[in-house]
Subunit: 270 residues, 2 copies
């Protein structure tokens, strides 16, 4: 199910990636973490300086959702424009959407995942940091670094070597009993699950280099669509194993709180 | 004049800016600096890892060009894809084009231009540096920093404070008689006019901080569509004047060589 039309030739979303997107878990027609998605979209519109459509327009696709679990992808662009980077003085933003059936990977919730470090480093761009904008070539290149099905995700550092995120998930770890996640004020996407977890748990946003994971008692990846995956193994960019974690009760607490927010199972076996 | 269709809803060019573009000056049906444009497009396809269309497809739009001066904009994307950053294993790249009449700004060739420093700093991304890819939000934000018609361009530094380029033109200067331009191995777009000038003139690619311009005898901006603009005045991000240059014979040499390459006037008065 999707909005009827595609994109016109002069769409600035294609020309410059001049827009934003949201990927929303929809359960029985109800968008999960919807306020957090709307808040991030509003922040993006403010930074890019074009108007946020009315809530009714953003919620219209939900009228098409059935009872099954689905993912709603919203793309909001600055709309049409002439040649040249200068934003039109009075842009008419364009909203398109797609609604797709979705089944989460329950095996990954249960057994945890294997991840690897990516070679690609994220550039620093504080003005755009945290936003889910359409300039995502770094993520595409990072995701292109592995093709084996055993590797679930890739961890990314910034150009200064600090840990940031995974290619499409946020990163969390526990060290000496404390929950931590990388600060996202220079690059990276501030996930909606991350933002809600930060509100309800004592998770510290930190500057950290990759060494921190070696001393972590538990590591997780999470986003608002997939839920939370415990990390069982971390590999080098060549796929050589660097660290292993035994998935235990330590991992289940953060996962249970996140899954409760998303309507996913909260009681998983160790 | 344009390729008939727009873009489908699942176009990765919109979703992730997953593609490349070229903006080509077309004179009497002949694309100027065409080999340099094709070479940059080929480099981009190699980095993004999708096939370059055959030359005949890239040149097809030229059959629609009349005798008047025009700009051909080519956009080449990875094409359609599902949800998720992972590039399709066998992408079918999509090519779209627009051909528009064009009149260069002869007054800027003659009198030179006023430019300003932008506040925005470009993030470092060596993998994508030099390419004309579709992730151009930094350029859009930079171009949004001024709206007065007296300011022709904005100069950009990278996140380490080094000079890189202008929002849609490359930067050149002369210092102690030597021609220099910023290295573009960490960020920025390597313009086709710049690449051809580097082949035919002793222009040094340097790491330089903005101070270098204070001691420059001449400063220019140039690209393959507009030709070369001498810089007459450089402002702060607030529009406060920092430096002035008197446009003289010093400026006309580089301009004449560039304009000869593009078929623009080579003899301009001082």
């Amino acid at each position: 199910m999707a909005s009827a039309a595609g994109w016109p030739l002069d769409e600035r979303g294609v020309a410059y990636g001049d827009g934003l997107f949201e990927t929303v878990l929809v359960r029985e027609g109800t968008p999960q973490l919807w306020e957090a998605h709307l808040a991030r979209l509003a922040r993006g519109c403010k930074v890019l300086d074009f108007p946020l459509p009315p809530r009714s327009a953003l919620e219209h696709p939900l009228t098409q959702a059935g009872q099954e679990l689905a993912v709603l992808k919203l793309i909001l662009t600055r709309g049409s424009g002439g040649r040249g980077y200068a934003p039109p003085a009075s842009p008419t933003p364009r909203l398109r959407w797609q609604l797709s059936p979705f089944t989460p990977d329950a095996a990954r919730w249960q057994a945890g995942v294997r991840v690897r470090y990516c070679r690609l480093r994220l550039g620093l761009q504080p003005v755009l940091a945290g936003l889910k904008h359409l300039n995502r070539l770094e993520n595409v290149l990072a995701r292109g670094e592995w093709s084996d099905a055993d590797t679930a995700e890739g961890l990314l550092c910034d150009s200064d070597g600090r840990l940031v995120e995974a290619s499409c998930m946020n990163l969390f770890w526990q060290r000496e009993g404390r929950l931590e996640t990388p600060r996202l004020d220079r690059c990276g996407v501030a996930g909606t699950l991350r933002s809600v977890l930060l509100e309800c748990l004592p998770i510290a946003e930190v500057d950290a280099d990759p060494d921190v994971l070696a001393s972590a008692e538990a590591v997780w990846l999470g986003n608002s669509v997939q839920g939370v995956w415990p990390v069982a193994r971390l590999d080098s960019p060549d796929g050589e194993p660097l660290h292993h974690w035994t998935i235990g009760t330590e991992h289940r607490r953060l996962q249970a709180i996140a899954h409760d927010l998303l309507g996913y199972p909260t009681r998983l076996d160790d």
